[in-house]
Point group: C2
């Protein structure tokens, strides 16, 4: 949906990430999510993102482009103590200002270093030089100060790239500054941009899309987004500051409710909650404990469940039974059962879940056995064939068969998600009775 946007530049933002290593990619970028949400609450929309190396001339070029299209420009990185770090110089050059050491910047840094029993060295003294006329943004958690300045009708903010430092400086200084600036402008304050996220598992993207057909009324200032990954399909509802007037909170929550109804059981979490947090919340709420028997996932399910603080209350143990022998020795899976059905079978998955539950004396045993590839396939058992087992005591084990596509890493991820989802649905069912 591309509703026409009455895009006053003051509510358009661009982020600029500085660093040659960032051009190469390969790392998850957590700063964008934080900045997008923080500015969104003010009604400022991040519409452009640029990444540029540690090259002064390239940075000048990017800064000039940014202020030509965005009223708020947030630069992260390039404020360190080494010669490579040249954000200060690039901003000074682009804006035609002098760099000078500033007392406010030096004092904050000196005080922080003193806490650690240190004095600023030569490189750190460079960090206290700020373009003339800029406001110093103090860094409450690190030594590098930031700054902000007005230039060509835009607010240019320069912050460290370290997430913890950037987040603290945004929260304590930049957001209040921008909020105040918007409040003092003659225009009416923009509507906050909100983004609601729904996490689904079990349906391909096209099927999720089909379920959501016709959800958003025509010309409604809400965007529906879909994003597929090995861990499922993410659905997002994002309000727009433009379009046919603001969307009411009521209309939004009714849309969200409609999404929930349409996605039904496939919806496993909302917002920042993860599958392992949902499962953990259900286990803790029902005072149930779990033990794992992992073959092809190799410990991934245990790793995921124990990412959640407090998980020791409900995760008792896990057996990573990679060899066939270990399945028998650790879990008591009969050797004959493996010989008859193969290690990757419904029967062995069930025996693994039962074995670990009984050994650990927990409420529920969860197991996975499968072929993650690229080797290990047979004539009847292809790469991606995975069995999940769950044994909750009464009624015997439940098993599920999956046929996943993708490389080894993707098959492991999807297997762990399928197992945790089976546990989630089982726990929800138990919670009802």
């Amino acid at each position: 949906m591309n509703a026409a946007r009455p895009a006053h530049r003051s509510v358009i933002a661009e982020t600029i990430a500085i660093g040659s290593e960032l051009l190469v990619g390969g790392r998850s970028d957590s700063n964008s999510l934080f900045i997008t949400e923080a500015l969104g609450r003010l009604g400022i929309e991040v519409r452009f993102k640029s990444i540029v190396g540690d090259d002064e001339a390239d940075m000048v070029q990017v800064l000039k482009t940014a202020v030509s299209r965005a009223g708020v420009v947030i630069v992260t990185g390039g404020l360190g103590p080494t010669v490579d770090d040249c954000t200060r110089e690039a901003v000074a050059k682009a804006t035609g200002r002098r760099l000078a050491r500033r007392k406010a910047a030096l004092d904050g840094m000196t005080a922080r270093l003193a806490q650690w029993g240190r004095q600023p060295n030569k490189g750190q003294l460079r960090q206290a030089t700020i373009p003339a006329g800029a406001t110093v943004v103090t860094n409450p958690v690190g030594s590098a100060p930031g700054f902000l300045l007005e230039w060509k009708g835009a607010t240019l903010v320069s912050l460290p790239g370290v997430p913890r430092e950037m987040e603290a400086m945004m929260t304590e200084s930049v957001i209040p500054f921008l909020a105040d600036q918007l409040a003092r402008s003659t225009r009416t304050c923009p509507q906050p941009i909100t983004r609601q996220v729904f996490h689904t598992w079990g349906l391909p993207e096209a099927d999720v899309d089909a379920k959501l057909q016709g959800l958003i009324p025509k010309r409604a200032p809400v965007d529906l987004g879909l994003l597929a990954s090995p861990m499922g399909v993410l659905v997002s509802l994002t309000t727009k500051s433009g379009g046919a007037g603001p969307v009411s909170d009521e209309a939004l929550s009714s849309l969200a409710q409609d999404v929930r109804t349409r996605l039904s059981d496939c919806l496993f979490a909302e917002g920042r909650e993860t599958m392992e947090e949902v499962v953990g919340r259900l286990l803790a709420g029902q005072k149930r404990t779990v033990a794992l028997a992992e073959s092809c996932t190799g410990g991934l399910i245990g790793h995921r469940l124990t990412q959640v603080p407090g998980s020791s209350a409900y995760v008792d143990r896990g057996a990573i039974c990679y060899s066939n022998q270990s399945k028998s020795e650790m879990l008591g899976v009969p050797v004959e059962l493996i010989a008859k059905h193969g290690a990757v079978s419904r029967e062995v998955a069930a025996a693994m879940a039962k074995g670990i539950r009984e050994l650990a004396g927990v409420s529920v045993g969860l197991s996975v056995t499968g072929i993650a590839g690229p080797g290990g396939a047979t004539a009847t058992k292809p790469v991606g064939l995975v069995y999940v087992g769950l044994d909750g005591g009464a009624g015997g084990a439940i098993t599920r068969e999956f046929r996943f596509h993708g490389d080894r890493s993707v098959i492991k991820q999807r297997s762990s998600q399928a197992a945790l989802n089976l546990l989630r649905l089982w726990l929800i069912d138990r919670g009802r009775t």
Copy 2:
């Protein structure tokens, strides 16, 4: 280092990633690494990267900026079958060309869909419309065709955002096209840009920096990069097409050798190799097997080791012993030992490693016990206190104490890295004798 660059536009590249979801970040970007390396081999340097949402006007703006500063522009994404996907429209609008359905694009798509027993639907037919005068780039692994065209002296390439499809189209069509174009130009072909990567563990960034002081001769066209993460400090040597003439292969390999000597034992891998691959290679080469006893890492070490294809040859099993009871029941750690020293202690780490080695009958047992936080700390045992144990049979267990900083996830990651590194050093030592 910012060597002056004789930057002819034909060897400067910009990548543009299309998608509103990408503006929000939070996901690892694997496309950039592939494109940077592929273009680098031709001597083309990616100097700018832009991300823009699914908005035609914003995309036009970004496309115009890109061709003003880069001679090669690679656009990924926005070629799907939905109305949100408007890369085709944006390129047509920016370049002032008509969109028309093209036989070459339609034929490829129809053939591919036919393999899957399907016919193109209305959305997919839209995917076969290409700006007038553009060359169709066929998609050997998916249905969406790409295209490339010349505009304002730049080559503009539009490819799907799906990594597998983008990579195949770059390799089969785009790279040969660009290589041919460079060869036919009157300029001398640029030097390939190479990037060598060294992975270190065990030293803070400042210490790695200190070890590498004075490595690069002044004005040498090589950039030294450092990037810290919870998994260690990455060091990179990147050649520049500019600077004081090309750097010889000899000079480069002598620099790389100098890096290896200076980093010594801290260097655990080079290039794309991971710690788990290095450890796996050593285990397989020495025909040794391993079993794990994981407490605070919760299965992460097992997950990492089993990410490597073929790891079933040397990973036998693992015990995720989260509760104290499970440490005794699964590994035979004496209850009194835990009572006396606490579960997080050198003594328990040693007993866990010995226990799992004996139970599994493997060459080496590897264990971790620690406090991942945020809860669980005591007066004498802070969050981040971690013990790693290794038992190789003769001579008893080796243990190491670590005091890590960071949140739960970071402490788990660092613990797993410390354990695998201890195993790596032990295996290297065994390989020598």
